[in-house]
Symmetry: C2
Subunit: 265 residues, 2 copies
């Protein structure tokens, strides 16, 4: 019999991930703090419950994005296995089931969860013991943050130089400067589309965790610190619900330049 | 009859580009400051000459990486057309003929050069008037430089955290953090391979040009400036002939951490 799966949190990422679990035939129990967001999943076949405790009671495997190594220790004492499994790939990856999943935990527990992960992701990596998934996710966010800075400064430089920004992107994306951010986020900036794939207030939380972890290890990560500071300037303006491509606004503010596409829409 | 093509400069990029022109059947005349580097191309069918002037005399289309808008003006007065066409994609792209070529110049001149470009590159973009290719190349280098900073801080953070750096790279490369740099340069760092695809002293020259252009436009590009400064610390140590992935050394110096791969070689 297929494992009964529980999912807590049905935001931009959680809802499409839940749909992919349903599609894969898992018996799914879901909870969301704002209950209204869970309703349509109920219509699609999920069991909607009113607390994380009810999810745990109904499921063999429950997945929450808010997990820590400390919780894992407490659970282990009660005979409950725990995996930390952050994802990357944005809303698009969650919808298409092409997420990258970076998991930490015991090998046996990881193998047991594999079919559940495979229903939601394309790239599935066992990174090490419990907590390793979260550390790899922070590595991921350091790169994502700095890639957004790269996109931002590149676009402002191009716009100020008066060249065709669409042609520029086309040329630059195909070579040694290519990145997911350049392909997926830079064109949004050219359309002034700051809607979130990934809300940058959530990314700021991760960058803050990375800075704090770095600080505990006495690391010096100037690029990460700069990126976090520039996002802070935008949080102060109340823009935290925008997508992480909004970082360009900080460089636009500094330079008094607005980036726009050159081609007719 | 096919155009006679001239190529000036036979370094890491120029030599494989010349070979692709020969393969495509162009009559090729080459010049290199250090004559010995041109010799094997002579054996492969190119005509080796001893000055840029001789290249110009022998060729219908001559390509040099050291071109400027000013030169273009002087040439136009003499009835000579000029295209600026920087490339991206590294040594691998030069060898495989998969370079991204970003060209500036008049549309007719661009079309005339198209078959020559197609012999060396996969992605060919006409970016605008003469000089636009160079501006797009600077945009490219801003992104490449900051991507190297992203890779550097990510790897040092991972190494200091004690996680498996190979597993981390595998997980992170497949998602929203993916980039050419992460796929191609980060694994070299894990092997402590700092040999150049692209020597960072040459990249520094481009970052300096970007900073100078930015300064003339009174732009504030803090990520670019930071990246340039960190490379400077390595130039001071005489490491400029290493590949641009060597930027990780600057973060390693700051953090007193050495990045290594976790898997047996």
């Amino acid at each position: 019999m297929a494992e009964r799966v529980g999912l807590i949190g049905l935001g931009i990422m959680g809802k499409p991930m839940a749909r992919n679990l349903l599609k894969a035939g898992f018996a799914l129990t879901v909870y969301n703090r704002t209950a209204s967001k869970a309703r349509d999943l109920g219509a699609e076949g999920a069991t909607v419950v009113s607390s994380p405790r009810d999810v745990a009671a109904a499921a063999d495997i429950a997945i929450s994005p808010e997990v820590t190594r400390a919780v894992g220790g407490q659970l282990e004492a009660k005979g409950v296995a725990m995996i930390d499994a952050p994802v990357s790939g944005g809303e698009r990856g969650a919808i298409d089931g092409t997420l990258s999943i970076m998991a930490g935990g015991k090998p046996d527990d990881f193998e047991r969860c594999r079919p559940v992960f495979e229903a939601m992701g394309q790239k599935l990596v066992h990174c090490g013991p419990l907590g390793a998934g979260q550390t790899v996710k922070l590595c991921n966010q350091i790169v994502v943050g700095l890639h957004n800075l790269a996109v931002s400064e590149c676009l402002v430089f191009a716009a100020a130089s008066g060249i065709n920004t669409d042609r520029m992107l086309e040329a630059v994306s195909a070579g040694a400067a290519g990145s997911w951010a350049l392909t997926n986020l830079a064109p949004k900036v050219l359309r002034r589309d700051f809607s979130p794939g990934f809300k940058f207030s959530l990314q700021q939380k991760d960058l803050r965790l990375a800075l704090e972890a770095g600080d505990r290890m006495h690391l010096s990560l100037p690029g990460l610190a700069l990126t976090h500071q520039l996002y802070s300037a935008l949080e102060r303006r109340g823009l935290g619900d925008e997508g992480n491509q909004a970082l360009v606004r900080s460089i636009e503010l500094l330079c008094d330049v607005t980036v726009r596409g050159s081609d007719p829409a």
